[in-house]
Symmetry: C2
Subunit: 333 residues, 2 copies
Amino acid sequence: MEYTKVAVDAMGGDHAPKEIVKGAVDALNRNQQIFVTLVGNEEVISKELEMYKYPEDRVSIVHASEVIETAEHPVQAIQKKKDSSMVVGLKLVKKGEADAFVSSGNSGALLVGGQLVTGRIRGIHRAPFAPLIPTEKGVSLVLDCGANVDARSEHLVQFARMGSIYMEYVMGVEKPKVAIVNVGAEEEKGNALVKETYPLLKECSDINFVGSCEARDIPKGDYDVIVCEGFVGNVILKLYEGVASTLISVIKKGLMSTLLSKIGAAMALPALKKTLKSFDATEYGGAPLLGLKGLVVKTHGSAKAKEIANAIEQCVAFKEQNITEKIENILNV
Amino acid sequence: MEYTKVAVDAMGGDHAPKEIVKGAVDALNRNQQIFVTLVGNEEVISKELEMYKYPEDRVSIVHASEVIETAEHPVQAIQKKKDSSMVVGLKLVKKGEADAFVSSGNSGALLVGGQLVTGRIRGIHRAPFAPLIPTEKGVSLVLDCGANVDARSEHLVQFARMGSIYMEYVMGVEKPKVAIVNVGAEEEKGNALVKETYPLLKECSDINFVGSCEARDIPKGDYDVIVCEGFVGNVILKLYEGVASTLISVIKKGLMSTLLSKIGAAMALPALKKTLKSFDATEYGGAPLLGLKGLVVKTHGSAKAKEIANAIEQCVAFKEQNITEKIENILNV
């Protein structure tokens, strides 16, 4: 049996290295097909690993002496810190020594580094950042969420095809419904970019394009793959998080505002928590950068062990389903 | 005393004419400075009016024989239905017979009609649609939310200045904080449009420009005027509504899922409703189209009397503060 080799940035994120190493161990114990390479300060990682029981024959450590911090300028950080856990990890994928790289570190640096260090598949113009967002019915893949800005129509068409492959073969959605973000449902609506892209998507025989999608309908979960240029996608992703977190805080305030409501809230809490869990993006692992020579996965800066473990396990389907080859093939259709 | 003359589309919206006429009567009874002209089918309107006590000397009816329906194509509807309540109302503003026009009808038609029928102030390139969105701290004005697409940097600068005037003089916010929607907080971030607009906004001495604003931070309410081009603004407005309504439905489902949670929910409900009310956009009246020769206000298609009355009252401040003249003046700064 061939392992899925996942390099993990042990030093990136708010809870590194503790939660990252714990997540890696959880994934290893749960799934026999995974081989993990922890990248970062060898001494620190070894010490963390000592705390757990894990299959030692499926773990290696690759030392990296530097760490890219959250506040660093992405491009400069990638260019200067050649021995950072992030750059070393991305190189492992480029050299084929790992199938995937998972990191909770500096988002901007990871998006830049994926393209500059690991590199795009020949013929793919842009590598979109493609997170799964929670909806009423499950999850939708939104791409590009900000790896690039000022995209052209041919880029959006590639995003649609890559996103469709990811949802079908990694997430197991049959004939994923692909939509383009627009200001109205009618075909003649839109800005210049959308008007140019719409007919091109209609012509794609390898995707199930269902038309325009208004932002209002995204949370309902009627679409599997939601295509947009990076600026708009970034707004969608961040506003989604922002509205949800503000609204939950407003609701909490309401529930805590009177004695009666406090008692009521305590009674309702367990059921409420269970339902809200389905609306929690961290349940679904990390967000891939698609179109690279291998898989690069971004997890939240605040990711804990559960999210890391889910993200690592996600890489198995990516490898087994030969997603990179499938993406290469769309260029020959 | 000079009245604020508000023309009201009595035939537009899901609850027309009943709730529209009721809202107009409420506004008239609340505020002595308002004169309302109800536009639409005279017979229908008269019959509705008969149900209320109201100051008859401050109401008139202007007959219009047609109605623009929700599903109609905006440009075609405005061009063909010359005797619709919407076109007739917009003309009253153009001719100076009304200071403002309030409508719950076909949004696209109103945005188009405002520019085509009422017309822009000379020198204003685009008339942005500028709704107030609820935040944790109050409301923020977001513009443009989709009256135009593919804006240029000089348009965004005008949006910023018009929005600032509106928030200061209509909403009473001192030195409104103006921000531009961006993919990161740093000045060097952004797409081509934002990079071009940012330094122009910095140079404006008549606004309090505070820099970039990530979509994640919009619901927190730290900015008073949020500037973006129409495609992005439309996504923000609709996603805001979509996430909030989906999340509330998910929470309701959670609260109703067990017997214990149902009892708890019943106890918590009154307090919760009160808090959520502060997050309800309809409390704040309608959304203006700025930069026209007079005020055009769009209310929700689902607007009931309360929203209509609030929207009509909003027009008083617009007129008293000479907003149209103040906008004309920015062109001479």
